[in-house]
Amino acid sequence: MKRKTGIGPWLFAAMVLLFGVNAAGAAEANAPAAASAPTITIDKTELNNGGTIKVSGQAMAGKPVYLEVYAADHAVRANRFDSDVDKDTGKRPYIFYITSEMPAYYKIFVPKDMQAKIDDEAKKKKKWSYSELLKNLGADVAYSVPPKAKIERYQSTLMASVIGSRGDLLPAMDEKENKKRSMQLVKARFRNINNVVAAAIDMKPDGSYTADLKIREGLAPGKYKIVAVVDKQAKSEAATFENKISFPTMYLENAGTSLNLVYPFFLTLVIAIFGVLMGAGGGFIMNPLLVTLFPALPHTIVAGTVTPTVLFSQGSGIFNYSKIKFINWKLGCGIGIAMMVGGFIGPKLTEMITLDQFKFAFGWILVVLAALMLWQTTPGYLAKNKKEQAILKEFKKRAEEASKGK
């Protein structure tokens, strides 16, 4: 967090600079010197929480043009835990890659006739590869922003995992390696193939192009840039548009998405009530519902934000019980210390797993929980529970009287 505030002013300075360049570029656009570089014009400079932007321009005849679109104001975190078997050595590397400079939105639009290639890659389902996709589309020439992100990598070991550390920081990667890893991070961050590429550009034989760029809802607010690219040398000036969002839709800085905050509010309200009724904290239902209903939210953010929410209800529960001396501190602290160690390790594991693994594991946890709930409705349990509850009430009454008597 500290780091983000540190970057903020720099980003702003960079924006101002880019802007200046931009304005200068627009003035020069008519000059014939820019003949080889494609041109770009957009029909509007403002969007309201997503929408469609018409882009047109002149590129080279007979060559495909690509539009690289990215959020210039907001960066997000992307991380990936590499535990795939290395083809050359046959070993699992266990390296954790993380960057905090991934643009909050990144998408490359390609000519419409390339749709089939995207579909081919999409057929691999979850195993689609961003680098192969870019290569097949020829769009790697347009891939310019994520490779600049500074990626840190950590060598994870079992020991490091046990003490809850990310592992040892490895030396920075060279440009080529950084680019390769940034592609994997793009996939890890945006997950769905349709979030990172789309076939939308109409090419004319004379090299002019038009495109309707659909910008989805729930994206970061602020400036976005579009660059038309033919090849590494032939790039247009960046066209800039602004995405606006208004309350109650707000941008979640750490999650990297905009969300209408009314939905989570009511969802939490309903779940919290239901949680009280069924005697389980709302977290069990809250987490899986949030990751299913808002696929744009990273599971790390969901887990990390729901946890403090349940913290306070637990705190008030403890306070109420302790008032009537209904807590055995020795037992609670004893097991509590063991749980503290577990709680230290758990959050690190969250960022090491992918959303699919998260869903898979959570699915089984819920199956077990459902079985527990079912067991609690069996006649044998109910009979026993009735007795226990009676004793519980009796003790509580005594405890309450004792605390009043003081």
Binding site: E253, P264, G282, N287, L297, I301, F312, Y321, L331, A361
Partner: protein, 129 residues
């Protein structure tokens, strides 16, 4: 370990309790829930403690876990303030309304509905449908 609670003595197997608590803590902090529904059966069934002792003490144990994991999640940058501010008041409000409704509905029905709901959610997460 021997503990005393309201004049009665109980023998607690702390090894089982700590290992169980440790595993539940990893799981619950990893996925961001409290862990009460797992802790209570652990303490009543595996440790053979009576319900009236478990309700308060399990909450205390879980509180340790939740506070540490909150801290760790925050440290890793997994915490989003705005998102939290949207959910937190709702959770408080729910905690206030919940007990009032609880008096009027049968816990048995709630448990069965919850059971069905959880299974549906689980199957969804597992990608069955």
């Amino acid at each position: 370990m021997k503990i005393e609670f309201w004049g009665q003595e109980f023998q607690v197997n702390m090894v089982v309790g700590c290992i169980g608590g440790f595993l539940i803590a990893i799981m619950s902090s990893m996925f961001g829930f409290g862990g009460g529904p797992f802790m209570v059966p652990l303490m009543t069934v595996a440790l053979r403690l009576p319900m009236y002792l478990v309700v308060g003490s399990s909450l205390l144990a879980i509180f340790f876990n939740t506070s540490i994991s909150t801290m760790r999640h925050y440290q890793f940058g997994n915490f989003d303030l705005l998102f939290f501010l949207a959910m937190f008041p709702a959770a408080l409000l729910g905690g206030y309304i919940g007990p009032q409704i609880a008096k009027r509905v049968s816990p048995l029905v709630v448990k069965r509905v919850a059971c069905a709901g959880l299974l549906l959610l689980a199957l969804n997460l597992l990608g069955v449908y």
